[in-house]
Symmetry: C2
Subunit: 104 residues, 2 copies
DNA sequence: CCCATAGATACCCTCCTCGGTATATACCCG
DNA sequence: CGGGTATATACCGAGGAGGGTATCTATGGG
């Protein structure tokens, strides 16, 4: 199973997630909106599914895909210790210096 | 030039960034800490350099690498519209519903 | 000066990913 | 049931990325 970072590396997968932000979508809807062949969307959705980015709700032959938070939250968590880099307010920097230690 | 997401996809590159959080490092120091051959570290540092994640400060034959904020901030910005997914407080959700629109 | 040290670059080889196309599967409807 | 629709899967081929090793370049020290 790929890491969330590897999953987000492909632009098409990020675009699928962007679309799903506006609400759940069927495979065919995504393919049409993105101008991509359906099997390609299905393949990437499988990767997004396996890595927890999306969930499926079957409805007869239709599959409705929706966002799931966990992997995105994991990426946000990884980013957190870097925040002080661009949020250079002194209070945050001070908090950073308090918690800084050599990552093992 | 690869996107920040593609750069972060490789675990070794993320580990390099993690080390640099504790302060600037020489190439050899990174190689030793990570248990990786020096040319491999150099190659990944070049990618991190070209994509703006790190900056170099030459010192004779030494090269001191340090973190740079921009690409990490860009990833954080991309994540921002997803935050409501896992921070499900009603006020944030309300703010989300106010700004939600179909991404073109 | 010459050697040692630090780092970058070049080259090779393998493996995996991605898109494309064809085909299979599931399900509804008439 | 038969055809059509919606989606998944299989297979292929090309390209690129990553690690390994050898070598080049630059610089300081004896």
């Amino acid at each position: 199973m790929p890491t969330p970072f590897e999953v987000l590396a492909l632009p098409l997968r990020r675009e699928i997630l962007d679309r799903l932000r506006a609400g759940p979508r069927l495979v065919g809807e995504l393919a049409a909106e993105l101008g991509v062949a359906q099997p390609i969307v299905s393949k990437q959705l499988k990767i997004l599914r396996d890595s927890g980015f999306v969930a499926v709700q079957p409805d007869a032959q239709r599959r409705r895909y929706a966002l799931r938070p966990e992997p995105l939250a994991a990426v946000a968590d990884w980013l957190e210790p870097y925040r002080w880099l661009w949020e250079r307010h002194l209070d945050r920097l001070g908090a950073h210096l308090d918690t800084m230690e050599d990552p093992s």
